[in-house]
Subunit: 319 residues, 2 copies
């Protein structure tokens, strides 16, 4: 994917030694690093999709909850999930790592976590920046390629609202962590190892998906982003939400950092074929309609009756 | 440059309010933000260059030294300078801002600094990520386009070594700041407002430049990167270094964060035409030769005699 697949030799210095060690650890998934920038070929007819995402200690994760490998994996998965949400496939990623003194011994474990998600998703690591600082921060910028992007703004009145996977795991894991308890293995896994739904998005686009977003703020909040961008009303039947074991509909409605896909498209999408192909459910949870008197937004229902809309997740106001 | 030039409407929440305010402040230089990723068209026949750079408070700058606008400008300029070093022109940038509580009131001034460098270099801001944290960090990832990239590895034996501008300003400014004094306006300006040499790099590539790097670690250290990547010996005549007023050759040799270009290429490049066109000097400061017994590296001379190589700048070991 890159013009130069061998690593250029760096000059002397501690930063370069640390970078060299990381690149060696990454092996073949790191490509063309060492120049001022990476050089990438773009196949003719393809557009580029670009997205950036930062994970900061105490804001996005706590050290006690996850292994360094999991922390880095999650940071990469969150960024790559944005490519899935656009219907794009990965082309390259860069890693901006701020590594405080008290994380230095974990630097190889962090590198391993990045490498796992990079290999899982076939995303070459083409560059990075390593700096010291007072708190661990992992900045990931991803590039993808796509012929026709799946935008948030494409939802049409009459579309069904579909969601992949089962919701609630990350919130239940977080709540357990915050009570000082161990989450169940299933909930913990959903929190620690989110899977970008890249191939699922390709499949959904092929079968007529009109708009997509990945669930990072909670399904109801993210449906709000689709509704706002598309200028539509989206209704969600909370009792149709696909639940992870132990989750209530309210938890599933509000759980963030799921990185499942929320998609609008024809009601005729073959959910059984999807489940057979990808091993996770695809569930119709609502409908898109023209805006009413309240303007674009989300309405939620339980057993057919309007209920107050559950509130989602907002990192920036979190303590 | 982007497929969608209008901003999509975001849903509710404090993070989105802050992002909305920033996008509004940026005006036309911010494009297509608001979806999961930005969509970019790449002109046929062009390759993509990608680079990432992080500026962290206390590591790369101190609050007392620069205005918030200058801090953000520098962060952007440092990243865009990597495109210049590859002979690329900017296509897009994303901004990952970690904004601690005690910087909230400066968020618009930070946004303005990013906008100035984005407009100066015609680099659309196509996305970003805003998070809280304990220290200010500005992560900038840039994309550029180039037909034939200018690599660090291209230096040939017999090439001359050329440098743009006059060196030493940033180091003299830093030394003054660290003594608690005000730098001279010239030195301060060189530190606070580095200029990515984008058009200069295009011109140099057109006239036969074979390799390039931007001076971030000091001209001698960065020549070492060229030498290592090209497998050559590079000799620098320290008494030929172009000096900013008040700088010694030793300061000019070691001053980092210059963001001037260090280029190898024919000895016949027309330096006078360069100066007429760009208003800064272009100076031949050394030569490239085949490696001797010591392997690839830099040798330094004063009045023709070998002298010990001045040591550069290494962020990662800095206190």
């Amino acid at each position: 994917m890159t013009a130069s697949s061998n690593h250029l030799t760096l000059g002397p210095g501690a930063e370069f030694d640390a970078v060299r060690a990381t690149i060696a650890r990454w092996g073949a998934i790191a490509r063309g690093t060492g120049d001022d920038g990476a050089v990438l070929d773009v196949p003719p007819g393809m557009k580029i999709v670009m997205s950036t995402d930062t994970s900061v200690e105490h804001v996005h994760f706590r050290r006690a909850w996850l292994s360094p490998e999991e922390i880095a994996y999650r940071a990469g998965a969150a960024a790559i999930s944005d490519l899935a949400a656009m219907g794009a496939m990965p082309l390259a990623m860069t890693i901006a790592l701020t590594l405080p003194e008290n994380w230095r011994e974990q630097s190889m474990a962090l590198a391993d976590g990045i490498a796992i998600i990079a290999r899982d998703t076939n995303t070459p690591i083409v560059g990075g920046d390593l700096t010291t600082g007072s708190e661990l921060s992992i900045g990931v910028t991803v590039l993808g390629t796509v012929r026709t992007p799946l935008m948030r703004s494409g939802a049409n009145a009459g579309d069904s609202l579909w969601v992949t996977g089962r919701l609630g795991g990350p919130m239940l894991a977080l709540e357990a962590f915050e009570r000082g308890e161990a989450p169940t293995p299933v909930h913990r896994h959903r929190f620690a190892r989110p899977v970008p739904r890249l191939r699922e998005a390709q499949w959904l686009a092929e079968f007529g998906a009109t708009a997509a977003i990945d669930i990072s703020d909670g399904v109801v909040s993210d449906a709000g982003h689709l509704a706002a961008a598309s200028g539509k009303e989206i209704s969600i039947d909370l009792d149709r939400l696909p639940l992870i074991e132990g989750a209530s509909a309210d938890v599933a409605a509000r759980s963030g950092e799921e990185y499942e896909l929320l998609v609008t498209g024809p009601s005729t999408i073959d959910a059984r074929e999807f489940e057979r192909k990808f091993g996770i459910p695809l569930t119709a949870i609502g409908e898109v309609s023209t805006v009413g008197a309240d303007g674009p937004g989300v309405v939620t229902r339980m057993a057919g009756a309007r209920v107050p809309t559950p509130k989602g997740h907002d990192h920036f106001t979190a303590p």
